[in-house]
């Protein structure tokens, strides 16, 4: 499960793809290349650390479409867009969709290398939150149905008494489920629980 940071290159032009690999490998970076967005999607899992060097225009799924797909999947992978000349509207759209890096061909290789290093550092941070997210999700899915109900009501700022009335059970039973739920969620306080569920909710 421990992947080394990798630069994922997605470009339909084999020469551009191959030359990028050559350039980045000369900086001792680990590189994986893909001829299409679809190929990359098949390969990538959120446990990988890396960044994406992405051609905006490609036959099939375009760079922008891949960006949309990844953000829908909550894959917070940093993307460095590379585009041919005159693609300003495209650049604007990508930026609006959250792209941080945009390079116009032909680009200064140093700029690309800087972006790549920056993006890899960024993704290491993202990785922490991605791991945390998976953890929270795993904890939630470990709850019983009743515990889940109790959690939802606790987050909704209801007292034990109210919860008991709503679920038609005794306060004692609510307290029992609540402590089990807090234990399973590894939450020490209500605030912590709320934060965790908010993080996870973004992904549903």
């Amino acid at each position: 499960m421990n992947y080394p940071p990798t630069v994922f290159i997605v470009d339909d032009d084999p020469a551009v793809r191959d030359s990028l690999r050559w350039l980045l490998e000369s900086m001792h970076l680990k590189v994986a290349t893909f001829g299409s967005a679809e190929e990359f999607i098949k390969f990538y899992t959120m446990h990988m650390i890396g960044c994406l060097v992405l051609d905006v225009r490609m036959p099939g799924m375009s760079g922008l479409q891949l960006q949309q797909y990844l953000s829908k999947q909550k894959h917070s992978l940093p993307i460095i867009f590379i585009t041919g000349h005159g693609d300003i509207p495209m650049a604007v759209r990508a930026m609006q969709a959250g792209a941080m890096y945009f390079l116009e061909k032909p680009f200064e290789d140093q700029v690309l290398l800087d972006y790549v290093h920056e993006a890899l550092v960024l993704d290491k941070e993202y990785q922490q939150s991605r791991i945390r997210l998976t953890m929270i999700q795993a904890r939630i899915s470990n709850l019983t149905e009743r515990e889940r109900e109790v959690m939802d009501l606790v987050i909704g700022n209801h007292s034990n008494k109210e919860i008991a009335a709503r679920l038609g059970v005794s306060i004692k039973t609510v307290e029992f489920h609540r402590s089990h739920m807090m234990e399973k969620m590894h939450a020490t306080s209500l605030i912590e629980l709320v934060n965790m569920t908010m993080e996870a909710a973004g992904d549903e």
């Binding site: 000349h85 005159g86 061909k105 290789d109």
Partner: protein, 430 residues
């Protein structure tokens, strides 16, 4: 005549004479009288005949004068030649057309002397034909005048009999130099227009071509920079550097190819070259050029080319231009309709009959607007924001100059089909 003779007979009756003598004299007088009468009649007849002859001669003279006026005033050049094609008689139009000082410069010579070499054989054939069979057909020749100008003539020879039963060749020669020059000028204009349109088309494709050129250039830059970095870090593996250098030269070639296609497409001198070519080859070359544009790569391309070579006699660059134009139109139409799958473009060649090849470009885009039939081939009609409205009229004129036809129609489902026909080589060559 009879009335004139009667007074003489009445006179002889009144003369007194003896019976014998009288009888004899009477007889003689009667005979004399009859002879006299006959003589008179003959005289009258002769006079009449002389009169008639004079009339006829006058009429003939008038007729001759009339013919001579026609001969002299004809704007067409008329030659009367001996059977060895020497000019015996020529009307004034002859020296004028030939820019000669007078008819004497033409008399005794043959039209063949003035015809430019590539037509001489045809003249010989024509003369031989008329001598052998008496039949002749009008034929076209090009001559050089006494002042060195070129003229285009149509010669219609006929065999004529003279009074003394001799034979002559009479040729009526029509000068259609003006028409020919107008046609040449028209063809020149059409070529210029075609060239301008190609520049315009290339302009439309320019950003795509620039993008396409960027691909090999960035690859080259990446490869070289990679080598540089490795060398700086003294990590040179000569084998891999050599391999990368080879890849670089492939990319340099690729960039050169793109520029060559673009340059060839705008070269002007190509408009005059007519060659026998396989239509599939022209289509494939055109698709190469199209591949330099970004949008072309986004659509699904279906090639349905006739399996055997179909030879056409064409000006390659102009047919490529028509194809590029049709493909760009199809791509525009596909882009307009924003198809989720990026759209499909089909290029098909087939034989609608034994003499023609039909090349169709079929798209699944937005189709042609209502009432398009009388609009789209009109100059300056356009449905595009940045179109000039000259693409289809010029394409259509190019195809017509190739004895073909350019036709547009909407598909039954969606999109449109543009097709043109061309005569297959050897069936109807112009």
């Amino acid at each position: 005549m009879i009335t004139k003779a009667s007074p003489a007979s009445s006179q002889s009756v009144t003369r007194p004479e003896t019976l014998d003598k009288t009888d004899h004299a009477k007889q003689t007088a009667k005979e004399l009288e009859a002879a006299n009468l006959e003589l008179k009649i003959a005289n009258e007849r002769l006079l009449h005949e002389i009169e008639e002859r004079k009339w006829a001669e006058a009429r003939l003279e008038i007729e001759h004068a009339r013919l001579d006026t026609i001969f002299q005033s004809q704007p067409n050049w008329i030659n009367i030649c001996t059977l060895d094609s020497r000019i015996q008689e020529v009307n004034p139009a002859g020296p004028i057309i030939m820019e000669a000082d007078g008819p004497e410069q033409l008399i005794g010579r043959s039209l063949r002397d003035f015809v430019i070499p590539e037509y001489q054989q045809e003249v010989d054939k024509c003369i031989a034909n008329i001598l052998q069979t008496g039949e002749s057909h009008p034929h076209e020749v090009q001559v050089k005048t006494f002042r060195g100008n070129t003229r285009w003539l149509t010669v219609r020879p006929v065999l004529i009999h003279l009074d003394n039963d001799e034979l002559r060749i009479m040729s009526i020669i029509i000068d259609h130099t003006d028409r020919q020059l107008a046609q040449i000028k028209l063809a020149e204009r059409q070529r210029e227009l075609a060239h301008i349109m190609r520049l315009n088309t290339l302009g439309e494709m320019a950003s795509g071509i620039a993008h396409e050129l960027n691909q090999p250039l960035s690859a080259i830059a990446n490869y070289i920079r990679g080598c540089e970095l490795r060398m700086q870090n003294s990590e040179c593996n000569m084998e891999s550097i050599t391999e990368v250098m080879r890849l670089v030269s492939v990319q340099v070639k690729r960039a050169g190819e793109i520029l060559r296609y673009a340059k060839d497409f705008t070269r002007k001198d190509q408009d005059i070259e007519w060659l026998e070519l396989n239509i599939s080859e022209i289509i494939n070359d055109t698709l190469h050029l199209m591949e330099t544009t970004e949008q072309f790569k986004q659509v699904k391309l279906i090639k349905n080319l006739y399996p055997e070579p179909l030879m056409v006699n064409v000006n390659k660059i102009q047919i490529e231009q028509v194809l590029v134009n049709m493909v760009l139109n199809a791509l525009d139409s596909i882009r307009e309709s924003n198809l989720p799958d990026g759209g499909t473009l089909e290029i098909r060649t087939e034989l609608p009959d034994a003499q023609h090849v039909r090349v169709s470009i079929i798209d699944d885009g937005s189709g042609l607007p209502d009432g398009y039939e009388d609009k789209i081939f009109r100059p300056f009609y356009t449905s595009k924001k940045d179109g000039m409205g000259m693409g289809l009229p010029i394409s259509s004129s190019i195809i017509e100059a190739h004895s073909g036809k350019l036709v547009a129609s909407n598909n039954s489902e969606k999109g449109a089909t543009f097709y043109f026909t061309l005569p297959i080589k050897g069936t109807s060559r112009q």
